[in-house]
């Protein structure tokens, strides 16, 4: 039994071990204000304090801690992206992920299960090989595997040739992982607060103004705040917030739904994704199958659920795992995804000085939490975007340039 638990067991009366220092009163000025208390915002706050010694920082969260897309995440982590700029960025994130639990002092349940992207057509095989080649060239563990190897990696998978779209092969990414989403946010929040960062929950920004002296004035439902620098990290509400300061974004807000099965005795080790069938699935440490698919067919700011989603998803699940017809869906939910035209995020400076944006993550922002937090912190601290995020600046669209990730991203998890 680990020592940490032994200590709890033998203490006479539970005294509580506060994860977070108690909240402080909201002040009227901070060096840096981060709008959005999800994984990205909290990570940015943490790295600002740790790497740049900037702790006069407030994180404003309109709901409760990490109540947005962080809480709704299916928590898949991988770096097998198609473009070199994407792959290198996420590979740095994976490097940070691996040592993060020890650093934050919380079990993130980071589990490298292996990630399989199934190919059902020869076009998908070509794309998979393309990704594998780019990945290998950059030193990322990724390869195209055939049916025989697939049968060993995931014996439960339906490899029959009689189905409508037989599985021809897969892109295999051994370091592909899952993690406990809430723990990531809590770990960053605690780390940031221990360095003096303030986190203000139930504090909503209602107006933003850029002042002549370069500072930013924020209106909130708890009073106004003056900030030297502002980082916006509000996936799902990016366009609405940016509009307050006069920035128009290349984003459509579209619900992304997911669902979870009842807990079942473990049978599925790897994370399985099928672009053609629009599904992804992994089995959590608790035994639940965590499943998702493509984004909803039209933009919406509501997180209602639909029946079409589970109907379609389950039909496709049974194509791959026919024996699951007696497993049961326990709960479905939705988040709002920021969809960009080139399936790549928007990070960096904006036309408004001292106002930095972290948006456009589509369906895959969770895996970037450490690297994005670290890069946005550097940007807010120095005013200069690190090389890793330069390809993702908002300005690219004004030049009518795009990052070429679209070819790989029918289901982006």
């Amino acid at each position: 039994m680990p020592l940490a638990l032994l200590k709890y067991g033998i203490q006479r009366k539970y005294k509580g071990n506060r994860y977070f220092p108690a909240a402080k009163p909201l002040r009227s000025a901070y060096d840096v204000v981060i709008i959005g208390g999800g994984g990205h915002g909290l990570a940015c706050a943490y790295y600002l304090a740790r790497d740049w010694g900037i702790s006069d920082v407030a994180v404003l969260e309109k709901g409760w801690l990490a109540s947005g897309n962080t809480a709704r995440n299916t928590a898949i982590i991988r770096s097998n992206y198609l473009t070199p700029e994407g792959a290198l960025f996420y590979e740095e994130s994976m490097r940070l992920w691996r040592s993060l639990a020890g650093e934050l002092g919380i079990n993130l349940m980071y589990s490298e299960r292996g990630h399989l992207t199934l190919a059902h057509t020869d076009a998908a095989i070509r794309t998979s090989r393309w990704r594998a080649e780019v990945n290998q060239h950059l030193g990322i563990d990724s390869e195209l595997v055939g049916r025989d190897e697939l049968a060993k990696l995931c014996p439960e998978l339906n490899l029959s040739e009689d189905i409508r779209y037989p599985v021809l092969g897969a892109l295999y990414h051994p370091p592909g992982a899952i993690a406990r989403h809430d723990a990531v946010a809590w770990g960053y929040a605690r780390g940031a607060m221990q360095s003096g960062v303030e986190i203000h929950q139930q504090t909503e920004v209602t107006g933003i103004q850029s002042l002549d002296d370069g500072s930013i004035e924020l209106e909130t439902d708890r009073g106004s705040i003056s900030a030297g620098q502002v980082v916006q990290a509000v996936a799902g509400m990016s366009s609405e917030l940016a509009r307050m300061v006069g920035i128009k974004l290349p984003i459509r807000s579209v619900p992304l739904q997911a669902c979870v099965s009842e807990a079942l005795k473990p049978f599925l080790d790897p994370i399985v994704v099928s672009g053609s069938l629009h599904i992804y699935v992994s089995q959590s440490a608790r035994g639940e199958l965590v499943m998702g698919g493509a984004t909803d067919p039209y933009p919406l700011y509501s997180t209602r659920s639909t029946l079409d989603f589970t109907e379609g998803l389950m039909a496709n699940m049974l194509e791959l795992f026919p024996f699951l017809e007696n497993a049961k869906v326990l709960r479905q939910w939705a988040g709002i995804a920021d969809m960009t035209p080139d399936f790549s995020p928007v990070m960096g400076i904006t036309p408004v000085s001292n106002y930095y944006i972290d948006a456009g993550w589509g369906t895959w922002g969770f895996k970037a939490t450490p690297v994005c937090g670290s890069c946005m912190a550097e940007l807010a601290a120095t005013g200069k975007a690190p090389e890793l995020i330069k390809p993702f600046e908002l300005e690219r669209f004004s030049r009518m340039e795009q990052v070429g990730e679209r070819g790989a991203a029918s289901v982006g998890h």
Binding site: M237, L249, P299, L300, D308, F397
Partner: protein
């Protein structure tokens, strides 16, 4: 599932339709490139009432839907000619 009142086919399940995004005014061909970049890539993406292109897939019929993206309420549907005529009217009224 939402019901959409198609001007051609009447009320049908939303599954029969696709949405092609907000109705936008295309710039002229010689407009500045940033105007084009705005048209091609940037979105209003309003949380609130928007006008969008929708198509009834089985009949390939395009029309305009006025919809609240905060609540998912469908407020009205228009034939394209009807919609643009009413827009021209509004614009005319604005300029007077």
């Amino acid at each position: 599932m939402k019901i959409i009142d198609c001007p051609l086919n009447g009320p049908r399940n939303a599954q029969e339709f696709i949405c092609a995004g907000e109705v936008k005014q295309e710039p002229s061909q010689d407009a500045a490139i940033d105007e084009w970049a705005d048209f091609v890539f940037l979105e209003n993406n309003l949380k609130g009432v928007v006008h969008e292109w929708w198509c009834h897939v089985a009949s390939s019929y395009w029309f305009v839907v006025t919809r609240d993206t905060a609540t998912e309420r469908i407020i009205a549907t228009y034939r394209p000619d009807e919609f643009f005529a009413s827009q021209r009217q509004t614009e005319g009224a604005d300029s007077e």
